[in-house]
């Protein structure tokens, strides 16, 4: 029997093993650890469905059209990235398997080919992102630099009403615990300023009456995040993570 999944093989060397008088000592690593699905959790589906971008998940009937055309899966060849399979795992609530893809699930490039083709009108791209959000929100996936950037970006927009690049840069540096050398920052800043792409300080655009808009947006974000609480989400909620806007 071929070993198809090396990570599942446990090396078990038994020096002396006697089974009813027969010596069966040796390497036991040619056996696959059984992977019986023992715990299905409907909360995952509820969470994704309750999310404003995940509500089409229950339309999926697992035809595989999305995966068939997916840039990541087929063109780029990242077989691990399988939107149909992620949806299936979320639908049946197989969390143990789903968390193995906590990283891969974010490889979607949002080409939307899947959405264009899905015969059931599943917003696959949004649903896949929501499944990723679930994994983060329930503490099953480490927050990636991209998540932190998303968070900084959202906060930046909420604060200024329009992107303030310098502020975004500062916040993100802080979140990453990174320090870019001053000379490099200066060089970058000047280039951006000259090309008219830097809007900060005296050059900042202003969004008029932003405070009012901001309070509306914040209220909406809080409402959006009012999905059923994810399992195991201790201190991190979607709202706090800005996950509700993803």
């Amino acid at each position: 029997m071929p070993i198809v999944e090396p990570s599942l093989v446990e090396v078990q060397r038994t020096e002396r093993l006697d089974l009813e008088g027969i010596d069966v000592s040796g390497d036991w690593n040619t056996f696959l650890r059984s992977r019986v699905a023992v715990d299905l959790d409907v909360k995952i589906l509820d969470w994704v469905k309750g999310h404003p971008q995940g509500d089409t998940i229950s339309r999926c009937w697992q035809c595989g059209t999305c995966t068939a055309g997916c840039c990541m899966h087929t063109d780029y060849g990242l077989q691990e990235f399988n939107p149909r399979y992620f949806i299936y795992l979320a639908q049946i609530g197989y969390e143990e398997e789903l968390r193995r893809y906590a990283d891969t699930v974010w490889r979607c490039v949002s080409c939307n080919k899947c959405v264009e083709r899905c015969p059931k009108g599943v917003k696959v791209e949004e649903v896949v992102h929501t499944i990723g959000s679930y994994l983060i929100a329930s503490g099953l996936a480490p927050e990636s630099p991209a998540d932190r950037f998303d968070r900084a970006y959202t906060e930046n927009l909420l604060r200024h009403g329009i992107l303030d690049e310098a502020d975004l840069f500062r916040t993100y540096e802080r979140l990453e615990g990174r320090k870019t050398p001053a000379r490099q920052i200066l060089r970058m800043g000047l280039t951006l300023l000259r090309s008219g792409r830097l809007h900060t300080g005296p050059f900042a655009h202003r969004a008029r009456r932003w405070a009012q808009m901001r309070s509306v947006l914040r209220a909406q974000l809080a409402r959006d995040a009012r999905c059923p609480a994810p399992t195991g989400a201790a201190d991190r909620t979607v709202a706090a993570e800005g996950g509700g806007v993803r």
Binding site: W61, Q62, G64, T65, A68, N82, R84, R117, C118, G121
Partner: protein
């Protein structure tokens, strides 16, 4: 008694007209095309699923009852231009070759049927662009004449695929319904191919196999006796492969959870059923309610599928939804009886 008007010369309409004549009712049979027989004739259906009976064995007796029947006034290449309800029945205007003619009829049977889905609308499958991508409209005549050859180079294929649910169960083309016959007909076609040409490999790409009731038998036989292979997954796109000489079906084998890119020599699309142009016209002329799918809706379909709810107007066949030939024939009989009762009373 004023004649009963039957609209449509497919299996349902032929059956209705034949029954009316044998009940002694004068009948006008109107058909838009210049021939009788509907889709089975138009596309030269080969064998019928599930018993692999030649289509002629079903259509010829139906046609035989019509031709030369003195009670039936046959009006080919004719359409309905106008219909007004009168005290009993309708005053209708028939149009043939530009000429209009007014007639009083005692009741009307709508048997305007379906059209096969235009597979060009599923552009990612390349129908109409790649000559070796065919659908039900072309493969049946090939099977009928036993010349299953690639239109591109006239050579026999080595490996063929069927893609189910094309233009059915698909909100992208606006057709959420199941065509009811695509599975069994595709399987039947694969069996026909394998029976005569066991050297051709046959693969069926499916999401679900709906060979309901006794049709299941053919599905089993196709695997057990004819070696037809089934892959669970819906093909995402068809492109050219091997320098344009073959077709490449890209999909996900959802059981393997892997992409599949398999070259084929011919691919058959199981093109579904849509309400025909005639069905849509009739709905407008009589002001009938149609369902969200565009098919005519009987008053209570569970109770009496041929009863339109409008006095003197009856339905038969695929005008009310995808239907197999025997069901259309049965409904034709039911509608004939109802129309006769209405006309007589």
């Amino acid at each position: 008694m004023n004649p009963v008007l039957v609209l449509g010369g497919g299996p349902a309409g032929l059956s209705a007209a034949g029954e009316l004549a044998s009940l002694g009712a004068p009948t006008i049979l109107v058909e838009r095309e210049g021939y009788l027989g509907g889709n089975p004739k138009r596309w030269h259906y080969s064998l019928l699923a599930p018993d692999l009976r030649p289509t002629e064995e079903v259509m010829d007796p139906l046609l035989g009852k019509i031709e030369g029947n003195s009670r039936i006034e046959l009006r080919l290449s004719t359409t309905l231009a106008k219909a007004e309800p009168v005290e009993k029945g309708y005053r209708v205007t028939l149009r043939s070759a530009g000429a209009l003619e007014e007639r009083d009829v005692s009741s009307v049977i709508v048997a305007t049927g379906f059209d096969h889905f235009d597979s060009r609308r599923k552009f990612e499958y390349g129908y109409g662009r790649y000559p070796d991508v065919l659908d039900f409209k072309e493969i049946e005549i090939m099977l009928h004449e036993d010349r299953v050859l690639r239109p591109s180079d006239g050579k026999p294929p080595k490996r063929m695929a069927w893609i189910l649910c094309v233009g059915s169960r698909d909100v992208q083309v606006g057709n959420p319904w199941c065509c009811r016959m695509g599975c069994v007909v595709s399987i039947k076609q694969a069996v026909e191919v394998r029976r005569k040409h066991p050297e051709i490999d046959a693969y069926v790409y499916y999401m679900d196999i709906r060979t309901y009731g006794l049709w299941e038998d053919l599905y089993w036989k196709s695997m057990q006796e004819y070696g037809v292979k089934f892959v669970r997954g819906r093909i995402g796109q068809i492109t050219l492969a091997e320098g344009g000489s073959r077709l490449m079906a890209t999909g996900e084998d959802t059981i393997l959870s892997r992409p599949t890119e398999v070259p084929f020599d011919m691919i058959i699309l199981a093109s579904g059923m849509e309400p025909s142009a005639g069905t849509k016209e009739v709905a407008t002329l009589f002001g009938l309610s149609v369902g969200p799918e565009g098919f005519l809706t009987p008053r209570i379909s569970d109770l009496n599928p041929v009863d339109s709810g409008v006095p003197g107007l009856f339905f038969a066949g695929a005008a009310t939804g995808p239907k197999a030939i025997p069901d259309a024939i049965t409904e034709g009989m039911g509608a004939a009886l109802r129309a006769f009762q209405y006309a007589r009373d």
